[in-house]
């Protein structure tokens, strides 16, 4: 029998690859290998509805467990790949098996960063939030009245802060940078979310540098700041970003920088190995970037299936993101890297607005806050390379639909 296409990593990119591969009617066998015990699942709800207990576990699954067998896809969960041998077109798994592949797709994703052990990263009551297993550990501690300290004011930290308040925890967020969301958004967006969280009773401390977590009996019980202040806590959530899982690729001498370097067709430096999702780095508009998002994982996974099926396609999808906090919906179209000016457009209702990022006269991205029209039409404009005048975007009376039609 022919060697299968082997997919390492069972997340969004893998699910998207398998879906497209089977939809295209390919009969080439697939083997999907994942370290976790679950089939590919959606991670975004982990810090939102799933943490709130509003979503059953099985509803996280992108496809039901049975679906893979129904499609003739062999799966091996709870399985760690230990080595890629590109010259032999083989991989080794922890159980000792050696598996031949026809093509290899690396979808290993990224991992949540923890604090170094020296400053408390390994203590009990310290959590990260990236997997179902993380939530299983966190949930018993995530209870009304507990004092939750969140280190890092990015998306994960702020979404968890919202969930914490909704469940009646006392929540403090400490952010080292001068403002929350500094790495991902403009000051205007940070201001909106600071106010949103403050109004829900979250204490937000910006420019707050932590020296170490404070320990009592092996358990974190707070954090010591450079200001000398001690923040007491019953549990600590670390939300300081992720790092790509590229160790296997590096050990196999695939070209890597901030991720596994892939071309526009998601090919790695080895002709039989592709990569998709959080673990890849690729060129976009002359910049080498890495994205951690559902959109990127889904689109790259889909693309690899098309490329292997012989389609002449390359990756041009516009990045998009979202975040839900309390009743607030943030939708982002495009990438704001390199912006030099922002224009704020008031929405047509209270608590709605959009922030439009420009580089010179070029529209790069839109943050739409409770304003799906701004998101939709902003996205259309960016996709079609349209650069609306800043004055027209800033005016709440202008018609975005008309502007997007050109």
């Amino acid at each position: 029998m022919a060697s299968p296409i082997v997919i390492i990593g069972a997340g969004q990119a893998a699910a998207s690859f398998v879906s497209r591969h089977t939809a295209l009617g390919s009969t080439q066998p697939l083997l999907l290998i994942g370290e976790e015990s679950h089939p590919p699942y959606q991670r975004p709800p982990l810090s939102k509805k799933y943490l709130l207990g509003e979503l059953e576990r099985d509803r996280l699954f992108i496809r039901p467990l049975d679906w893979y067998a129904e499609q003739g896809v062999e799966t091996r969960f709870n399985t760690r790949v230990t080595e890629i041998r590109p010259a032999a077109r083989q991989i080794a798994v922890a159980a000792g098996d050696i598996i031949d592949y026809d093509r290899l797709i690396i979808c290993t994703g990224s991992s949540a960063r923890n604090l170094p052990a020296e400053i408390g990263g390994g203590l009990d009551a310290v959590f990260t939030l990236r997997s179902i297993a993380d939530i299983d550990r966190l949930s018993p501690e995530f209870r009304t009245g507990r004092r939750l300290l969140i280190v890092g004011g990015g998306y994960i930290g702020l979404e968890a802060a919202a969930a914490g308040r909704q469940l009646g925890l006392e929540v403090t967020v400490i952010e080292m940078a001068e403002r929350i969301m500094q790495r991902v958004a403009a000051r205007e967006t940070s201001n909106y979310f600071r106010h949103l969280h403050s109004s829900h009773g979250v204490e937000i401390m910006e420019g707050a540098e932590m020296i170490r977590l404070v320990e009592a009996g092996g358990r974190a019980c707070g954090a010591e700041l450079t200001s000398g202040e001690i923040i007491d806590a019953d549990l600590v959530l670390i939300g300081i970003g992720g790092s790509p899982n590229i160790e296997l690729a590096q050990a196999a001498n695939l070209e890597c920088d901030t991720g596994i370097r892939v071309d526009g067709a998601c090919r790695s430096s080895d002709p039989y190995i592709y990569a998709a999702g959080d673990c890849t780095s690729f060129e976009r508009n002359g910049q080498q970037i890495r994205l951690e998002s559902v959109q990127n994982a889904a689109d790259q996974g889909d693309l690899v299936a098309r490329v292997i099926a012989g389609e002449d396609v390359s990756y041009t999808a516009l990045p998009w993101f979202w975040s839900d906090q309390y009743d607030c919906k943030l939708q982002i179209a495009g990438l704001n890297i390199g912006y030099d000016q922002c224009v704020v457009r008031p929405g047509d209702k209270d608590q709605t607005q959009s922030i439009w990022y420009y580089s010179g006269d070029r529209l790069l991205a839109v943050d739409a806050i409770n304003d799906p029209k701004a998101y939709v039409f902003g996205r259309k404009m960016i996709e079609s390379g349209m650069n609306p005048r800043k004055e027209s975007v800033a005016s709440p009376d202008s018609d975005l639909r008309a502007i997007a039609k050109g």
Binding site: I62, V294, Q295, P372
Partner: protein
């Protein structure tokens, strides 16, 4: 439970008994209905679960809210008056027999 039927453009149909409370995007991906992706998991950010509701069922599938209305502007196949995002239709006994037409992008 509700029996839901998805009809593709070439006339092929997929039918499934769907548990109450599940949304019809989840039901479609679980039953391998092509062209329904549901990338955002049903939080109204991607518009990849677009369906056309058979006209006789429109009243029973409920109202389109503001967010869904905006998101229907970016479906791959252009919206029509019976367009819905299927993640916003929740299975219930009243929908037993519902027919959805699945748009197929070129």
């Amino acid at each position: 439970m509700a029996k839901i039927t998805w009809k593709m453009q070439d006339g092929t149909v997929i039918s499934a008994e769907v548990k109450d409370g599940l949304n019809l995007m989840e039901a479609a991906t679980a039953n391998n209905v092509s062209h329904i992706m549901g990338e955002c998991g049903g939080c109204l950010s991607c518009a990849t679960c677009h369906v056309f509701v058979a006209h006789e069922w429109l009243a029973k599938t409920g109202e389109v809210d503001d967010i869904e209305d905006a998101m229907l502007e970016m479906t791959e196949v252009e919206r029509e008056e019976n367009s819905r995002l299927s993640c916003q239709i929740i299975a219930s006994p009243e929908l037993d027999g519902l027919l959805l037409h699945v748009p197929e992008p070129e």
